[in-house]
Symmetry: C2
Subunit: 385 residues, 2 copies
């Protein structure tokens, strides 16, 4: 019945190169998911995303539920049809946005009541409704509703959020299985064979992560995400928690590190056994003029590029680098031309997706450690200018 | 020496289908030039423009002179290299923008002194400097500097602007020939074989148009533009002046109607012997949600499209129509996603360029009158909703 399967084809140390078989196609892992919050990656057409080699997009349940509404999208035939992308999609559960974007909200054991950031309308999200909304949207992978505490937070708060997340995991999974079995008549899944991922919480406390992993595995999902990281904690702490948590997740299931990260975070997390990533950095920073290269980010606004007629990165094969100069990109940015966002986003996403391709190849050739060392030697987080 | 040539391959009534051989390639006429004011068509990459079949772009001398500056563009190797488009480009002379955009300006026989709309800097544009700037920019076609009076204006004002335009034509042509011959050492043309077009003025007064044509032909240019129309006069008056003026222009030279127009204006002007067009309508209106179809424009913001899952135009072969629904485009527009501008612009430009293709074919098959009748029967300027 389920179109979901994960095959770990190659191992190199803890790094894994695999294939995720989903209703709308295969995703080669480790994979990066470009973020199309509202059903569009800002500035890029789906054709461009295909040309970039993106195999899976991330979209946001919260935004799409509020506008245009999951009922409308269901009537359109599901999210894939609605946005014109017939490859895999993952949607988050909406919880993170409720906590970061919505107006006054009230969190209870039942769920969360909040006001829409668009029109102030009163909305409710529960572990069950998050499942129903995502059944209507019809992504290939739906995320369970979790509670993500801010950082830093005392252990008792993080523990409370983690244990509530475990109870929500059970409720969300029960609802998911009922919907998939054709149970609730009011919910017709737009994508048969949808997978559901559980989310491990527990902040930076290893003992809480241990309990969260055990409880989430007991519920059982098609894949497992590590949530609650990249929220401000030091990088070293994040890597430790990733390593500690990933090691306890089942070998034959995909592992998704939510919301991370910088290019070196991707490499370091793959080294610790992560398969899936999403992050707004390559797209958002592109719109602010920050461009990624093998040596680190550069700021295209800088005056030093005013007459630099070379490409962003001479080693980059992306369409922007093959056709346009730093001088032109700087000019477009300063002139406020929207093409600046498009060309910069193309480059940054190419860089991210190419880095994933290089990692997959390195794992397949058992040379991941060398790739990792060379990448980290060349890459500096400090913006060159 | 000159890479410029115009061959009128087919005639059908007054309509002409020809080929314009320019330094950067051939333009099949009648042709529409997408407007890339500041060296970019808003929201579209040059690859998209190539895929749309655009053969020539228009860029604005005024904007590029102020930013990034024609000296910078010359050092980049010219406008084609700077913007990454190696097909033909036409630049206007900057005069129109000086009159419509610049701050306080003083018009004399010598030229016009104005303040930049960007930083208030004092700038000067003369018939000679317009030539020099365009020599550095290096478009395939440079326009002479003219004076375009507003509409309505009394005959004596229009006459004064027309006679000054004639004097400027002589000065501009002399400078152009000197630069092309390697004369002024301070100006090195970025594109050898550049063509220069003269501009006929005279408003809506036929006797002034007659004098302007005669004087402009006496100076002699590679092609001739009809300026000073589409500035508010009734459509019927515009068509009359186009017919009256085009009939007096040499048969073996391209004729360019500046700044027009609506889709039916293109058809009616081709019927009167026009070969070249530019207009911001398809691009600007796309960004405001107005989409062109064979039946007329529609407003994608309209609530009636909220759950209309069909394409903008079922008969349209453009990429937006093949992949996206009215409902999705309306949603993107209302959500403020920049992809709305890109997809809408793709469609509108496809419609304009496709209409030109259909006209060329109709002329070649001697069926232009039938095409014209069917087009005008189907097309209504009234926005359907």
């Amino acid at each position: 019945m389920s179109a979901f399967a994960f095959a770990g084809d190659h191992r190199d140390g803890l790094a894994r190169a695999g294939r995720l078989q989903l209703p709308h196609g295969i995703v080669h892992t480790p994979a990066f998911m470009p973020v199309g919050t509202r059903g569009a990656v800002k500035g890029l057409s789906v054709e461009m995303l295909e040309q970039l080699g993106a195999e899976i997009l991330l979209a946001n349940t919260y935004h799409l539920h509020l506008r245009p509404g999951d009922e409308v999208i269901a009537r359109a035939g599901g999210l894939h049809r609605f946005i014109g992308w017939d490859h895999p999609i993952l949607t988050d559960s909406g919880g993170y946005q409720v906590f970061s974007l919505a107006g006054r909200r009230a969190l209870t054991e039942e769920g969360v009541v909040f006001r829409s950031h668009i029109d102030g309308q009163r909305c409710r999200l529960t572990p069950e409704s998050a499942v129903d909304i995502q059944a209507r949207l019809g992504p290939d992978i739906a995320m369970m509703l979790d509670e993500c505490p801010s950082w830093p937070a005392p252990a008792d708060e993080v523990e409370a959020a983690m244990t509530r997340t475990l109870r929500w995991a059970r409720r969300g999974r029960d609802r998911f299985l009922a919907v998939a079995a054709g149970g609730p008549l009011e919910v017709r899944p737009s994508t048969p064979g949808q997978a559901q991922f559980g989310i491990v919480q527990g902040g930076t406390y290893q003992h809480l992560r241990d309990r969260s992993v055990a409880g989430t595995l007991e519920v059982g999902f098609e894949g497992y995400a590590i949530g609650g990281l990249s929220v401000g904690e030091p990088t070293g702490v994040m890597y430790e928690i990733v390593a500690h948590t990933a090691a306890q997740l089942p070998d034959d299931r995909p592992r998704y590190l939510m919301g991370s990260g910088m290019p070196d975070d991707l490499v370091e997390s793959v080294a610790r056994g992560i398969d899936l990533f999403d992050c707004v950095l390559p797209t958002r920073n592109a719109r602010n003029g920050q461009l990624f290269t093998r040596q680190g980010p550069l700021n295209i606004k800088n005056a030093r590029y005013a007459e630099d007629f070379g490409p962003i990165d001479p080693d980059c094969g992306c369409w922007t680098c093959r056709r346009h100069s730093r001088a032109y990109l700087r000019y477009l940015y300063l002139a406020g031309e929207m093409l600046a966002s498009t060309l910069n986003t193309l480059h940054n996403l190419y860089f991210y997706l190419d880095t994933m391709r290089l990692m997959r190849k390195a794992i397949e050739f058992n040379s991941f450690e060398r790739f990792r060392r060379e990448f980290l030697d060349a890459y500096s987080r400090r913006q060159s200018a």
